[in-house]
C-alpha cells in the first residue's frame, strides 16, 4: 500500500520533471542571439568558419525538435549536454556544485526550523507576553529584510569589525590537504554566515507559524487531558502539543523548499559559496544555456524530492493519514 503510493508519487514527480525539461528547453530556445556567437565571443572573437564549426559541434544547426529529442533522450541516460562555456559535461559541473548547495540549504532548513520552532513554542506559552511580541516583531522583520542585504551587512560586520567567521567561500584553500576532521570543521566554520543569513527569513516564518499552530493546539481538549493527567509543562509543550503543531510546520517546510533554493541562489552569490545557485547565475550571465537548463532541472528535481519526503514524513507524523487510502 505504502510502496505503491510511493511509486505513484515518484512517477508523478518524474512526469513533472519531464514537463520542466520541455518548458525550459523551449523557453531558452526563444532567447535572442545566436549561441554560437556567444561561444565565439567567450573565446575571444571568431570568424564565420569558426562560428559554423561551433554550430556543428553543439548541434545548433539541427531542427529544434531534433535538438529537443537529443536533449530529452540525453537526460534519460544522465547526459545533460555540454556547457557552452566550460566545454564540459553539464552533469559534471552540477555534480561538483550540487553538494555545497544541499549542505547550505539543509543546514539553513535545520537552523531555521529548530530555532524558529523553539521561539514559536516559547512565544505560544504566553500569547500576550513580551516574548510573544518580540517573536511577532522579529518574524515580521525577518520576513521583510532582503536576504542578500542581510548577507552584505554580515560581511561588513564580520570582515572588519569582528573577524571571527570567514565571509567568502566554502573552504580554506590552504587546508585542502588537511585531514577530514580539520576540513569538516573548516567547512562548518565557513558555513556559519551563509547558513545563518539564509535561515533568518525562514526562521522568522517558522517562529510565527509555530506560534500560531501551537496556540491552536494548546487550546485543544487533549492538551487539557494531558494536564489533567499531571503532565509537566515541558511535556505538555514539547511532547503533546508540538507533535501536533508540527504537522502544519512540516507542510510549510515542504512548500518552502523551492523558496529556500531561490534564497540560496542569492546567498551563494553574496558569500561566494560554490553551489548550484552561483553556477546558475554565472551561466545566465554567460548565456550558457545547457548549464542553465541543467541547473533548473536539478533544482526542480530537488524540490520534487523534497516534496516527496515531506509527503512521506507527513504520513508518518500524522497517524490519521497512515492507514487511509
Amino acid at each position: 500500500m505504502t510502496l505503491s503510493y510511493l511509486l505513484r508519487r515518484i512517477g508523478y514527480g518524474l512526469l513533472l520533471m519531464l514537463g520542466v525539461v520541455i518548458l525550459n528547453f523551449f523557453l531558452i530556445r526563444l532567447a535572442p542571439g545566436d549561441p554560437a556567437v556567444v561561444i565565439a565571443g567567450e573565446m575571444g572573437g571568431a570568424t564565420e568558419e569558426m562560428l559554423e564549426s561551433i554550430r556543428e559541434e553543439y548541434g545548433l544547426n539541427k531542427p529544434i525538435f531534433t535538438q529537443l529529442w537529443i536533449y530529452v533522450s540525453g537526460i534519460a541516460t544522465g547526459n545533460l549536454g555540454e556547457s557552452f562555456f566550460f566545454n564540459q559535461p553539464v552533469s559534471k559541473l552540477i555534480g561538483l556544485r550540487i553538494w555545497p548547495t544541499i549542505l547550505l540549504v539543509i543546514t539553513a532548513q535545520i537552523l531555521s526550523i529548530s530555532i524558529g520552532v523553539f521561539m514559536g513554542v516559547i512565544a505560544a506559552r504566553k500569547p500576550n507576553g513580551i516574548l510573544s511580541g518580540i517573536v511577532s516583531i522579529f518574524a515580521t522583520i525577518g520576513y521583510a529584510v532582503p536576504v542578500f542585504w542581510t548577507g552584505i551587512m554580515l560581511i561588513i560586520l564580520f570582515a572588519s569589525v569582528i573577524p571571527i567567521f570567514p565571509v567568502e567561500g566554502m573552504q580554506s584553500v590552504k587546508l585542502r590537504d588537511a585531514g577530514f576532521v580539520v576540513k569538516t570543521l573548516d567547512i562548518a566554520h565557513h558555513l556559519v554566515l551563509p547558513a545563518f543569513t539564509l535561515a533568518i527569513i525562514y526562521l522568522a516564518q517558522y517562529a510565527r507559524l509555530s506560534r500560531a499552530s501551537m496556540l491552536e493546539v494548546l487550546g485543544s481538549d487533549y492538551i487539557r487531558t494531558a494536564r489533567a493527567k499531571g503532565a509537566s509543562e515541558v511535556s505538555v509543550l514539547f511532547k503533546h502539543a508540538l507533535r501536533n503543531a508540527a504537522l502544519p510546520i512540516l507542510t510549510v517546510a515542504g512548500l518552502q523548499f523551492g523558496n529556500l533554493i531561490s534564497g540560496a541562489l542569492l546567498v551563494e552569490t553574496v558569500f561566494n559559496w560554490p553551489g548550484m545557485g552561483r553556477l546558475a547565475f554565472d551561466s545566465i550571465l554567460r548565456r550558457d544555456y545547457p548549464t542553465i537548463l541543467g541547473v533548473l532541472f536539478f533544482a526542480s528535481a530537488m524540490v520534487v524530492v523534497a516534496n516527496i519526503i515531506t509527503d512521506i514524513s507527513y504520513r508518518w507524523a500524522d497517524p490519521r493519514l497512515r492507514r487511509k487510502s
Binding site: 504566553k126 487533549y222 487531558t225 499531571g230 503533546h240 500524522d318 497517524p319 490519521r320
Partner: protein, 324 residues
C-alpha cells in the same frame, strides 16, 4: 468524618473584553468518600469551571480563583504550588472529559497515553506501564486490549474512546473521579454502558465521583446527591431523590420536566424558555428571574441565598415565601 472534597465559597472570575466577569460565585459543595455527587445545570452555568477549579486547570491567564477554598482529603489546594497541583492531578483526582475524540491526543497510541498517565505518578518502567495499560483496557471492557493498545484514537469507536478515557483516569486509582458530561457525545445505548462501567469502577476502586451533567436522567441513574447550578451559583442541593421528587427551585423543576420518560412522546418534551444570560450581563437580582414564571419585584432586586426553607436548601425567594 470529613468529606473527601470540600469546596467552600469558591469564587472564580475571568478577564474578558467586557471586563472581569464572575464565573463562579460563592459555590460550596462537598463529596464524601465513595459517593457520587451530581452537578447539574445548562451549559455555561459553571459546572465545568467548578470541576476545572478542583483540578487546578482553570484556563490561564484569564481565569483566577478570587476567593474560597478547595480541600481534597483535608488538604487545601487553592494557592497550592504548580508542582503540588501536578502531583495531585491524575493521582488523587482524575478527570474524564466529554469529548473523547478531541480529548485524546491524535498522534499517540491509546496504550501510550494510558501508560504515560501511569509513569507520571508511579515509578515504573515504560514496558511495565504499557502492560498495565493493556490490563486497564481489558478492565474497562475493550476487546483485544493488547491489539487496541497499539491503535490510535481515531481507529476506535466513540464508546471505546470513552472507555479508554476512563481507563486512563483510573490508572492511578484516584480517590476522586470527575466525569464532565462523559456521555454527551455518545448515542443512548452506549451512554447506558458507560454509566454501568462508571458504577462498576466506583465499586471496584472505591472512588468518589463528581458527575457533571445537564441531564437529570443521568442524575437519576448515577447520583447519590445533587447540586443544581445556575449562572455560576449553586441554587439547590440535596440527595438525588429529594431533588428529583420534590424540586424546590423553579429551575430544578424545569430541568426535571425535560427528562424524557417512557411513553411520553418527543414532542411533549418541555423546555425551559429563554437562555442563560451572559455572565457579564448579570444584574443585582436572581439570575433566573428573566426566565421565571414566578418572578416578582424582589427577584429582580435581590440575590436569593441558598437556605433550607423547610425541605432542603434552595436559593429562591419564592420558596422562602412559600408561594410555590
Amino acid at each position: 468524618m470529613s468529606p473527601l472534597l470540600e469546596i467552600n465559597d469558591l469564587a472564580v472570575t475571568f478577564a474578558t473584553r467586557h471586563g472581569e466577569v464572575t464565573a463562579l460565585d460563592s459555590v460550596s459543595l462537598h463529596v464524601n468518600e465513595g459517593e457520587t455527587l451530581g452537578i447539574v445545570g445548562e451549559s455555561g452555568c459553571g459546572k465545568s469551571i467548578t470541576a476545572l477549579s478542583v483540578m487546578g486547570l482553570i484556563p490561564q491567564p484569564h481565569g483566577r480563583i478570587r476567593a474560597g477554598s478547595i480541600k481534597l482529603a483535608g488538604e487545601e489546594f487553592v494557592g497550592a504550588t504548580p508542582a503540588r497541583l501536578r502531583q495531585m492531578r491524575g493521582a488523587e483526582a482524575a478527570m474524564i472529559f466529554q469529548e473523547p475524540m478531541t480529548s485524546l491526543n491524535p498522534v499517540f497510541t491509546v496504550g501510550d497515553q494510558i501508560a504515560e498517565a501511569i509513569t507520571l505518578h508511579q515509578n515504573t518502567s515504560r514496558d511495565r506501564a504499557f502492560k498495565d495499560a493493556i490490563a486497564l483496557l481489558d478492565r474497562v471492557g475493550i476487546p483485544e486490549p493488547d491489539k487496541r493498545a497499539r491503535d490510535y484514537p481515531h481507529q476506535l469507536s466513540g464508546g471505546m474512546r470513552q472507555r479508554m478515557m476512563i481507563a486512563m483516569a483510573v490508572s492511578c486509582r484516584p480517590k476522586l473521579l470527575i466525569a464532565d458530561e462523559p456521555t454527551t457525545a455518545l448515542d443512548v445505548t452506549v451512554q447506558a454502558q458507560i454509566f454501568d462501567l462508571l458504577n462498576e469502577i466506583q465499586r471496584d476502586f472505591g472512588a468518589a465521583i463528581l458527575l457533571i451533567t445537564h441531564d437529570m436522567g443521568a442524575i437519576a441513574e448515577m447520583a447519590d446527591r445533587v447540586s443544581v447550578m445556575y449562572a455560576g451559583r449553586v441554587i439547590e442541593t440535596a440527595t438525588a431523590d429529594q431533588v428529583l421528587d420534590t424540586p424546590q427551585h423553579p429551575y430544578a423543576r424545569g430541568l426535571i420536566d425535560c427528562i424524557p420518560a417512557l411513553g411520553k412522546s418527543e414532542t411533549g418534551l418541555k423546555e425551559i424558555p429563554g437562555v442563560v444570560p451572559p455572565l457579564h450581563m448579570l444584574g443585582a437580582g436572581c439570575a433566573f428571574a428573566q426566565r421565571c414564571d414566578h418572578a416578582q419585584a424582589r427577584c429582580l432586586r435581590e440575590k436569593p441565598k441558598l437556605i433550607n426553607h423547610g425541605h432542603h436548601p434552595a436559593a429562591c425567594h419564592g420558596v422562602e415565601e412559600a408561594r410555590l
